[in-house]
Amino acid sequence: MAETRTLALLSGNEALALGAYDAGVEVATGYPGTPSTEVLEHLVRISEAGEVDVDWSTNEKVALDVGIGAALAGKRVLVTMKHVGVNVAMDSLMTSAFIGVKGGLVLMTADDPGMHSSQNEQDNRHIGRFAGIPVFEPADSQEVYDFVRVAFEASERFDVPCLLRTTTRTSHARSKVEAGARVVRAVEPSFTRNPAKYVMLPAFARERHTVHLDRLESLQAFVEEHPLTVEELRSPVLGVVTAGISYHHVREVLPDASVLKLGIEFPVPTERIRRFAAKVERLFVVEELEPYLEDEIRRIGIAVEGKRWFPRAGELSAAAVRKGFVEAGVLAAGDGPSARPPVPGVGLRPPVLCPGCPHSTPYLALGELDAIVSGDIGCYTLAAAPPLASMDTCLAMGSSIGIATGLAVSGLSSQPIVATIGDSTFFHGGIPALLDALHRQANIVVLILDNGTTAMTGGQPHPGIAYDIRGRMAPAADIAAICRAAGVTSVTVVDPYDVAATRRALRAAIAHRGVSVVVTSRVCVESPVKSRGPVYTVVSERCDGCQACMKIGCPAISWDLESMLTPPGVKIDPAVCSGCTICAQLCPSRAIVSVRDAEADAARAHSVAAAPAEAGSAR
């Protein structure tokens, strides 16, 4: 009998890493993206380098390709990404079901209903159905742990990649996990030539499409009776079909309702649903985002209520589910807790760039230059918010350069057109777009914000970093050299902590015709280590209250409301200041000085004041 061990509270992502490890995963890869990032990071913590080959890939498509290659060599493979990352991997994913796997391949898609850290809230169950691969959706950390093991087995049994869908509230919530014994696979890697299966020429692909369709039928039979789908019969009046995190909201709000909880959502176990529907008088489906199950249930001719009562946009909560059931007449209006009204005067607290963020200077400069700025995905997207307010578009990973090219070739010429993109994003999706801009001779500036890490997701290495996820040495690609090799004739590397040099570099780049590149090179202030210099302070007698430093949006700088100036002067919180010097460089009155200089000045003033007395006594 397998040993079991109860562990402390694990997040869904930690449970996924542990589940994959215990299932004998040997290769794991992905691209960082909230809420998926911690899976690989935890896997690194719990495994040895010799046991599991873990590393980040350049982007999600590369990650999936690496995963498929390893699976074809017979390894069990975990590939992780966020929901929009799967879009990048789509090309490979759509045909992956045709060529199949040998070792099991589980692709984790971490969806983000409510868009806590994302640009959209697409429902990736649709992607599983589109690609024709099984979709598993666990509801809590224990289920994540259990489901990933089942998913590996199903992947091998049906020779198909499996999609494991989590949402922010399964990935980032913590609950108890009871872990089973670890499977040690130790499969010798081998590759058997099989062009008819692995080379998707049209002639072979036609054959494989038939195999794929036949497999869907056997998968249907597999899910219909699978124990991951659980029928909980309670009330004969009310039945709810649900899956994932929504299950817990339903149990919270309607503890007496009968529930059919689906563990596998593609293929949809329609016969199971039909049998369940026959046992209840009124059938509901509660699911986050799209009416995916609802449409499927309607399609087989069963009356069901769903999105009529529950929102299609945003995250579900017990409160939202309760509201839906009240409107549907299942619950009385007074049921459930009532919240007090908001306290007046409480303002917004949007996320901001960190104190000392090297991204603030380039966006300050771009604001002064009145450029059209096409932005990209990363911390620097926060520069779209005031006071920097220097970003005009942001679409998807790597889109900034293509959009800037499109704006330029459309003939806009009254304002400079600048694409801004981070280092990790440049490697992920910026390089093909840069080549395109060069080929079209688009008159744009590409500003590459190189902070030596993937900062937004917590500081993961990328191809430009000299170490890997386990901290071992790795070859580092040189961004400026890549740009020069691609044919950019104007490449400037500048330190963004030098405000004047950054302004000069951007002005020169704008003056240059064609594609020019400015790389702002300064390591992230938070990662890999927190960098802290001598902190700065405001000499209040010199401060004019001109607000020039307030343009940075630095969290360390605030109005000194005790000051008698109109407008008020500013002060710097020494506990928050990173000592980056940007505000000191912006201050026209030189009122911002390092604490050390301020102390030296004070000491000097003291000695000058004391001097006449000493001089007098000497005379």
Binding site: H116, A319, L348, R349, C546, T566, P588, S589
Partner: protein, 342 residues
């Protein structure tokens, strides 16, 4: 449904744990304050006491100085990972504004232990002209809030690491939950970095020493900590606020607005004021003479007047309704230049 216990004035003891069936706790603060660590620590105590525990928070973007909310739910079997609005027995808030924001989670008879630490976000200070601060005053303590000057209570315990001050709130929370102090100490030991351990344990004890006040607050579900009165004078945010420097948003009628007068015959078009104005209020006209083109953005900082080598500029304040009379007829220039000022 879920029983609240611990507000009966009796010393907490392990034996009364059975009386606390289930509960909801919300821990809030600003990214970087240690909210997630604190909720991990409380979860550990609950887990060790034998409850099913679920904990949830959103990280990622919100770590960048934004709001962090951590939900902790416990009981015999917990389903939803999020605390519903109006259903938290306890709130622990590491920051004043976040504490007030989180009150929507509080039960009518719940208690919010709120630090008076203020982290005023850059977003509250965007109006450089009127300087109206978007931040709730400290003076008014809403019903159910136990306001605590955590820095004052922590004292030298937090001298080295300011974040330790908030551990005072966990000490105060421990008074309201029926678990032995050893369980809390063990959890602190398990979760806190070694070098901060002594400071955290000390801050925890100081918070726990407030037991009478905390219990009284919980009993009344309403509290104004004695310490708050001490900070109340500065709580009105600024003496400047009273003399019109930082007017409230509804007192704008009496405001004096800044005016920049330019002696055109003295201006030689050197461009210094145009380049240096932080709000970009000034432009050169077709004769290369400086023009006060965007008076609606001027904060009256006087930088232009201070920098003008020809002393051609003069900044002063005029009543709002008289500003139009002061502004010369540069309308054409204004139309030309106000396209989209950044």
């Amino acid at each position: 449904m879920s029983g609240v216990n611990g507000s009966n004035g009796k010393a907490p003891a392990g034996t009364s744990a059975a009386r606390l069936v289930a509960g909801n706790l919300v821990v809030v603060g600003v990214g970087g304050q240690g909210v997630i660590l604190a909720s991990n620590l409380v979860s550990q105590v609950l887990l060790d006491a034998g409850y099913d525990v679920k904990k949830s928070e959103v990280h990622g973007m919100s770590q960048r100085g934004g709001t962090v909310v951590s939900h902790v739910r416990f009981g015999p079997e917990v389903h939803s990972v999020m605390v519903e609005p109006g259903s938290a027995e306890w709130i622990v808030a590491f920051e004043w504004e976040e504490g007030l924001r989180s009150l929507s989670y509080l039960k009518p008879n719940g208690v919010a232990l709120v630090s008076t630490e203020r982290r005023i976000p850059p977003a509250a200070m965007l109006d450089h002209r009127a300087q109206s601060l978007e931040y709730p005053a400290l003076g008014e303590v809403p019903f159910g809030v136990f306001a605590l000057d955590t820095f004052a209570v922590a004292g030298d315990a937090a001298a080295a690491v300011p974040a330790i001050a908030q551990t005072v709130l966990l000490g105060a929370l421990s008074v309201l939950l029926p678990f032995p102090v050893e369980a809390w100490q063990a959890a602190i030991d398990a979760w806190v970095p070694r070098k901060a351990l002594a400071g955290n344990l000390s801050a925890f004890e100081r918070g726990r020493a407030l037991a009478p006040e905390v219990r009284a607050a919980a009993a009344a579900a309403r509290a104004v900590a004695p310490r708050l009165e001490k900070i109340a004078p500065s709580a009105s945010l600024s003496p400047a606020a009273q003399n019109g420097v930082n007017p409230s948003r509804d007192g704008a009628a009496e405001r004096l607005l800044p005016m920049v007068r330019i002696e055109r015959s003295w201006c030689k078009g050197c461009d210094i004021c145009v380049a240096m104005c932080p709000e970009k209020c000034l432009v050169l006209d077709e004769l290369d003479v400086a023009v006060f083109a965007r008076p609606e953005r001027c904060t009256g900082c006087q930088l232009c007047a201070l920098l003008c080598p020809d002393l051609a500029m003069d900044v002063f304040r005029v009543p709002a309704d008289e500003l139009a009379d002061w502004l010369p007829a540069y309308e054409e220039d204004r139309v030309r230049t106000t396209a989209d000022p950044r």
